[in-house]
């Protein structure tokens, strides 16, 4: 058993007792020890908790208990989901040292399934960013090229997968934070339908857009994790009380004959790197060979999605982040006995929040303020309606929509960190999905010829039809694997010290 195996293979080996869960966890900790000083995917390791969970799984297996398919398989958890007793920082100084007193529903489901949570992964502060450079604890480095970004906000989770530090990871996606990191690291990530996976215990950034989801190195592994964490949760008022589509069966089916695949005209052209477009088009050609029917669709209002997103998300964030007031948990600065609560609050929020978070709180406060509300937040909400209508019309003509996930491959660390608008453009193809609450997947479709870096292929499905992404993703992945002769990650340079 190697750390380069898939989660499904690890699951088989565990079931056959070829390896124990403790041995598997230790193999991954050895890899983390060897490479994470360079990659910096993790903010915190919970070795004691992970080994205790692995021991308990091994004991249950030895006793012949029936276990979930992923029991004993290790996972990296994005540091925006609370895990009882384990530090949860959201990449912010505001929560440094905070240990939550409860588990997120996603974490409860992972624990119940016997999954071994290795530690918490790095991210842009409060999930605001596309490069992980906004983490208060320093950036994560892309395992394909350590001078480049691993995407964001979930760059720690994507880098952990690409560096073989974990076979599974959890991300959250508000405007592309699962899919864009997957794209630039050559891994797979899915943003489920909004309401498909509980948000209870997910530290809120933009409540109407946030969605937790599965990340892995293969479509099947992603599906296995999706099945584990999805489902109705009475603790989340926006949770959908509806059966979870059988994404695992869909991932295994590998048959897209007669399926209508729509190419969104607006998610191409200006701003898209040539190599990204080429790899995308080659992947579409593979789908045609497999018998899919290609339809070109127009979604004219997608042009306004980015602008609307950068009003809606900051507006909701300005309200959500009001809870970091230094009173009940987290950082408190300047409480010398003489200063009043408001002054302490002001000083704490100055010291605890980074630049991007402040920028968005101020922008949101402006967009929601009397006199500007209609022009900004109100108009953005209308654009949201138009985007939904564009999707509805498109899905009348096709079963799924496809596009490149991100307009470019991984850029250099520092290249865009002083230009917020250039940074925001990374999310141009992923944001429409969040605005409409539908499902989106990114899977690797090759290396761009200019820089030999991974390109992501995005598949979008109607709400609660998440199985369609896995159907197309599974078929495309198999076709590309046959073409390449080995998984895309095997083309990545070996990290120093890697096992």
């Amino acid at each position: 058993m190697s750390i380069r195996n898939t989660a499904a293979q690890m699951s088989d080996a565990l079931a056959k007792k070829e390896i124990s869960a403790v041995e598997l966890a230790n193999q991954h900790y050895a890899q983390i020890e060897a490479v994470d000083k360079d990659v910096h995917a993790f903010l915190h390791l919970d070795k004691a908790g992970a080994i205790a969970q692995a021991e308990s799984i091994d004991k249950k297996r030895a006793a012949g208990e029936k276990l979930s398919p992923l029991a004993g398989v290790p996972l990296a958890l994005k540091d925006v989901l609370v895990q009882k007793g384990v530090p949860t920082t959201c990449g912010s100084k505001m929560l440094e040292g905070w240990r939550p007193p409860y588990d997120a529903t996603v974490v409860t489901k992972l624990k119940d399934a016997g999954i071994v949570i290795l530690g918490k992964t790095n991210m842009d502060e409060f999930a605001m960013g596309s490069s992980t450079e906004n983490s208060a604890y320093g950036p994560t480095h892309n395992p394909w090229d350590l001078t480049r970004i691993p995407g964001g906000s979930g760059g720690g989770s994507s880098a952990a997968l690409a560096a073989f530090e974990a076979p599974l990871a959890i991300g959250t996606d508000t405007g592309g934070s699962i899919r864009q990191p997957a794209a630039v690291t050559g891994t797979v990530g899915v943003k489920p339908t909004y309401g498909g996976v509980s948000r209870y215990g997910l530290v809120a950034f933009s409540s109407s857009l946030d969605q937790a989801g599965p990340c892995a190195r293969t479509v099947l592994d992603t599906a296995l994790l999706h099945q584990t964490i999805a489902g109705f949760d009475p603790k989340d008022s926006t949770s959908i009380n509806h059966a979870v589509p059988d994404v695992v069966a869909a991932a295994k089916k590998k048959d897209v004959k007669g399926l209508r695949i729509g190419i969104v005209k607006q998610l191409a052209g200006e701003g898209y790197q040539k190599g990204v477009e080429n790899k995308f088009n080659e992947a579409v050609a593979e789908l045609v060979k497999l018998g899919a029917e290609i339809v070109e669709v127009s979604c004219p209002n997608f042009e306004y999605a980015l602008a609307a997103y950068y009003l809606i998300a900051p507006s909701e964030c300005s309200s959500n982040l009001a809870r970091f007031d230094s009173m009940r948990f987290g950082l408190r600065v300047g409480d010398d006995g003489a200063k009043g609560a408001e002054e302490v609050m002001n000083l704490t929020r100055q010291a605890g929040f980074g630049r991007e978070v402040k920028r968005r709180i101020i922008l949101g406060t402006y967009a929601l303020s009397s006199g500007y509300y209609d022009a900004y937040y109100g108009s953005a909400q209308k654009v949201r309606t138009l985007i939904k209508q564009d999707f509805d019309a498109a899905f009348e003509k096709c079963d799924v929509l496809v596009s490149p996930t991100a307009p470019t491959t991984a850029f250099k660390i520092g290249e865009k960190s002083n230009d917020p608008l250039a940074m925001y453009l990374n999310d141009i193809a992923t944001i429409p999905v969040n605005m409409a609450g539908i499902g989106g997947m990114s899977l690797p479709c090759g290396l761009a010829e200019e820089d030999n870096l991974p390109v992501g292929f995005q598949i979008m499905s109607p709400a609660m039809k998440d199985d369609r992404m896995y159907l197309v993703g599974g078929a495309l992945e198999a076709a590309l694997l046959a073409k390449w002769g080995k998984p895309l990650l095997d083309f990545a340079p070996k990290l120093a010290g890697s096992k």
């Binding site: 007193p101 300005s318 922008l363 402006y366 303020s369 022009a375 108009s379 138009l386 539908i438």
Partner: protein, 98 residues
């Protein structure tokens, strides 16, 4: 849509309860000009006839049966508090002197 002034940004920071240095205010007002200029595009298509969408799925008020279920103990609830006393959150003065 006219630009945003440094004074307006200072007022927003006050409303958002974030202390800001002069340097921070200078920098942020410049950035806000640029960002607002870009996002104002939404007004081009937001006609009076378009209904707003606040949520991707219809949201209903959710209530549960009024029965007692386990919840956080006072110790757990206070475990992350910057300061506490007598099973309560201890906060700086809120009403000023006297």
């Amino acid at each position: 849509m006219s630009g945003i002034s440094r004074d307006e940004v200072a007022n927003l920071a006050r409303l958002a309860r974030i202390e800001m240095s002069d340097a921070e205010l200078d920098h942020l007002s410049g950035e806000m000009q640029v960002i607002l200029g870009a996002v104002a595009r939404v007004q081009e298509v937001a006609g009076a006839d378009v209904p707003p969408t606040s949520h991707p799925i219809p949201v209903n008020n959710v209530v549960r049966e009024d029965v007692v279920v386990p919840s956080l103990s006072p110790t757990d609830a206070l475990s992350g508090a910057p300061a506490s006393a007598e099973q309560r959150f201890k906060v700086p003065q809120i009403l000023g002197e006297e």
